[in-house]
Symmetry: C2
Subunit: 351 residues, 2 copies
Amino acid sequence: MDVKNIRAYGTVAADADLKQLEINRRGVTAKDVEIDILYCGVCHSDLHFARNDWGMTQYPVVPGHEIVGKVLKVGDDVNQYKVGDLVAVGCLVDSCRSCANCKNDLEQYCPEWVGTYGGYDKHLETNTHGGYSETIVVDEAFVLSVPENLDLAGIAPVLCAGITTWSPLRHWNVGKDSKVAVVGLGGLGHMAIKLADALGAHVTLFSRSTNKIDDAKALGADEIIISTDESQMQSAMGRFDVIIDTVPYEHDLNPYVGTLNTNGTLVVVGYLGPLDPMLVTVPLIMGRKSVAGSLIGGIAETQELLDFCGEHNITSDIEVINMQDINTAYERMLKSDVKYRFVIDMKSLKS
Amino acid sequence: MDVKNIRAYGTVAADADLKQLEINRRGVTAKDVEIDILYCGVCHSDLHFARNDWGMTQYPVVPGHEIVGKVLKVGDDVNQYKVGDLVAVGCLVDSCRSCANCKNDLEQYCPEWVGTYGGYDKHLETNTHGGYSETIVVDEAFVLSVPENLDLAGIAPVLCAGITTWSPLRHWNVGKDSKVAVVGLGGLGHMAIKLADALGAHVTLFSRSTNKIDDAKALGADEIIISTDESQMQSAMGRFDVIIDTVPYEHDLNPYVGTLNTNGTLVVVGYLGPLDPMLVTVPLIMGRKSVAGSLIGGIAETQELLDFCGEHNITSDIEVINMQDINTAYERMLKSDVKYRFVIDMKSLKS
């Protein structure tokens, strides 16, 4: 196996800052695409993983799963891509490809899916490393095509924040007659508003604070409900077909269930933390309502989203940073001090 | 308004036994059907309501919403029924008929639906009274047609226990390729097994005790999983498309969520009591699973079920009692000492 030594940014311990590291990338095998990484989005999961918040991190870890770049080299059997193509890689770089989930384009639910970082690279027999790096080598089946008309930095967060909200919007059939609500206005929430709006839905943001009203409207929300205001919550009872709950910490789901219409579904897409919420079941029964979860999206669905973004000229609202700013960016993320996603310009790592 | 005084069985206080009462029934208005009640099933809700377990009972109360009978008289504008027809009445006798739920044949979710007992009879300006009585007068829109080939006593529980399980089986598209599990083998559970089996699904019963295995298989279950056996539960992980949870008391939903397949739904149809369960959301996210609720069914769907029962020769397994035995029957129900539903032979009230 041909191996390349490249520059990356990562960490060697839960309590250490991220710093420049050298890592190995495999040479291209027959179905591989080698990608020059231009931009990489910064996801909250990157931070959780770097700091071992989920107790599963093996070090060193190189985060990053919102990757946009240009094809540098392709293996002999690659059909879909050629050198110079604009491509992207999201949260997964492989799966078993034979289970029912894989066969149904639901690779994200394959029990053997390989994460873009922290997974297992069977070729190198080591952990996979993510997009905080110069290049990445990925089987073409997990490489996506990027529309030429979009801002390349702004498209990066579509690979995780975008698909995580797109997949439930599509699965629960959101369209032009839908009434959609989004809980929380962060990286995921702002994409959920843009995408639901572009799908033609009436979009409402639930927010705890009044200072997000103008921003939410600019993103495409038709309405904002202040979730701490009892009378506003009361007036929203029974209204929504689908609620995308993006809030990644412990909170009460029951007030939102109350705002679902008959047959409505509340979809949790963020990790609510170690304390599980109480679920009041009577309101579910009294309106055939559901509480569901959803995880990123499959490869075909991610390509569908990228194409949709190209057609509707949608990208994420971002703040571009240099690789060397990542530790500051993590601290700012913890304070929700970003509109709405940091994206690393990878030139900064290469110079 | 013409009013008839008839015999019924009911109670005047939460702590009083049921006893014979006299109640008023309205005379038939233009769209009304007067029904001679032949059989009435005994639902657990009857007991809860008689004893004011839900804090909403107004006395006197005459329970009973699994009613089968014969048409005695019809109003001038009744089109669907004629004297002598076999008919049934379930849990509702009216609704607003103009809201979105009513227009979508989901009268059970109409905010103004009128319960067969404990509702409000706008003609008599008093509470509605249920099927523990000689006769009932119901608008034809809420009267159902009963197939001639079925045992009339056995069909009564279809009107509540049956439709409560049929509606979610149909809504979540159970068919011949489905893997369905049923939690609990009581009135609802035994109907869920029969109906899912008749729809062609592979049916599994979750039960706490091994002594229900033979009964469950006789009802149509392909398999029984003992829910207190860790290894059996472990082997069931990720298997079911739909789980109908019929257990009407506090219990942990999370072990059952674990046994759902990708896209699977756990449907709660019983009242879990005042303590709300904790819901672990990560397993929902990791397999796009849902926890939902469902309430009885609409009128058109109940007719669909009665027709299906006629075609497949399905009735409830019952124990027929006299009206005078109702207090003993309630005590036995509290001990789950019935296979699987008591049905009152209304001759006993009339003689």
